[in-house]
Symmetry: C2
Subunit: 162 residues, 2 copies
C-alpha cells in the first residue's frame, strides 16, 4: 500500500534532552513544563484552542529509527506485541500525549505534563474532550499488575538499541 | 521541514460507505460494529492486545484532500481554528478513535463504537489505559454549549467540499 506523507506543524521544546530519563507517560509528570513552537503558516489554526484545558498532541518519535513487532515495555519484563504497548519503536512511530494547556502567546503554546523529548516534531493538536476520549474501560491486559510502577518508571534508553 | 512517511498497517472495514451520515465520534455510536484487517506482516505485533477492552486507533482521513485552518465544526455554526476541532481537513489528516475491542481472530480485529468510513487506512493501534488517557478536564472551550448535540450529529458531507 502506498506511503502517506506528513509534514511537521511545529517543534516541541522540552527540558528532556535525551531519551534516557524521559518520563514514559504524560500522566506521570504533572508539573513538568515545556513549550511548543507552531510554524507561522499554521498559527491561524490555533484560534479557539485556548478555551480547552487539555489537548492531545500527536507527534513523531523522531529518534526511533527501526521497529520491532515484539518489545519489552518499560514497566514489564516480558516481550509484548508492540500494538499492546506505547513503545516508540512502532511501524508508524506516532506518539500521543495528553497535556495541560496553560496559555498560548502568538505561535507558542505553554504546556504542563511534558513527556516528550527536546526537538520532537509535532504532527497534530486536537482538543481533549472527556465525552469523546474517556472510555469505560474494563480490562487493561498485561498492565493490570504493572501500572503501579508508572510514577517511578523513566525511559531507560532501551528503545534506542532496537 | 522534511516530510515524514508512514505506511498503513491495515484497513478499516465499516458499515459506513460514504462520509455523509457517518458518525462524528466513536463515543456517539456504542453499538456499531466493524472489523480491522491487519496486513500479515504486522500480525505478530497484535500479541497481548486482546487483554485490553479498549484501544486507540490512529488512522488516515484518506478522503480529506485539502486542509483549511478555519473550519465550521459539525456541532457549531461558527468557524473555529482547526486545531480546536476534530475536523478531518487537518494539515496532517490523522484521525483518533477509541473503540471497544471485542475479539481478535488471526489478522482480524472485531470492534464496536465504529465511527470510521469503509476503506480507511490504519496507521497505529495503542492500548487505551485510563491512567494514561483520562485527563482531569476543566474546560472544553467552544464545545461547552454544543456537546449536547453529539448523539444526533452525523457527518453532513461538508468537509468533502473543502
Amino acid at each position: 500500500m502506498k506511503q502517506i506523507e506528513f509534514k511537521p506543524i511545529g517543534i516541541i521544546h522540552s527540558p528532556y534532552k535525551k531519551m534516557k530519563g524521559t518520563p514514559i507517560q504524560s500522566s506521570a509528570v504533572k508539573e513538568i513544563e515545556g513549550t511548543i513552537e507552531i510554524f507561522p503558516e499554521y498559527v491561524e489554526g490555533l484560534s479557539d484552542l485556548d478555551g480547552f484545558s487539555h489537548i492531545q498532541l500527536l507527534f513523531y518519535f523522531h529518534l526511533s529509527k527501526k521497529f520491532k513487532l515484539k518489545v519489552k515495555p518499560y514497566m514489564d519484563d516480558q516481550f509484548r506485541g508492540v500494538f499492546a504497548t506505547r513503545a516508540p519503536s512502532r511501524p508508524n512511530s506516532i506518539g500521543l500525549s495528553i497535556v495541560n494547556l496553560i496559555k498560548i502567546e502568538g505561535n507558542i503554546l505553554y504546556i504542563k505534563n511534558m513527556d516528550m523529548i527536546e526537538g520532537t516534531p509535532l504532527l497534530d493538536i486536537k482538543p481533549y474532550v472527556s465525552k469523546f476520549d474517556d472510555a469505560n474501560v474494563k480490562k487493561i491486559g498485561w498492565l493490570e499488575n504493572k501500572i503501579h510502577k508508572l510514577p517511578k518508571t523513566k525511559d531507560d534508553g532501551s528503545f534506542l538499541k532496537l
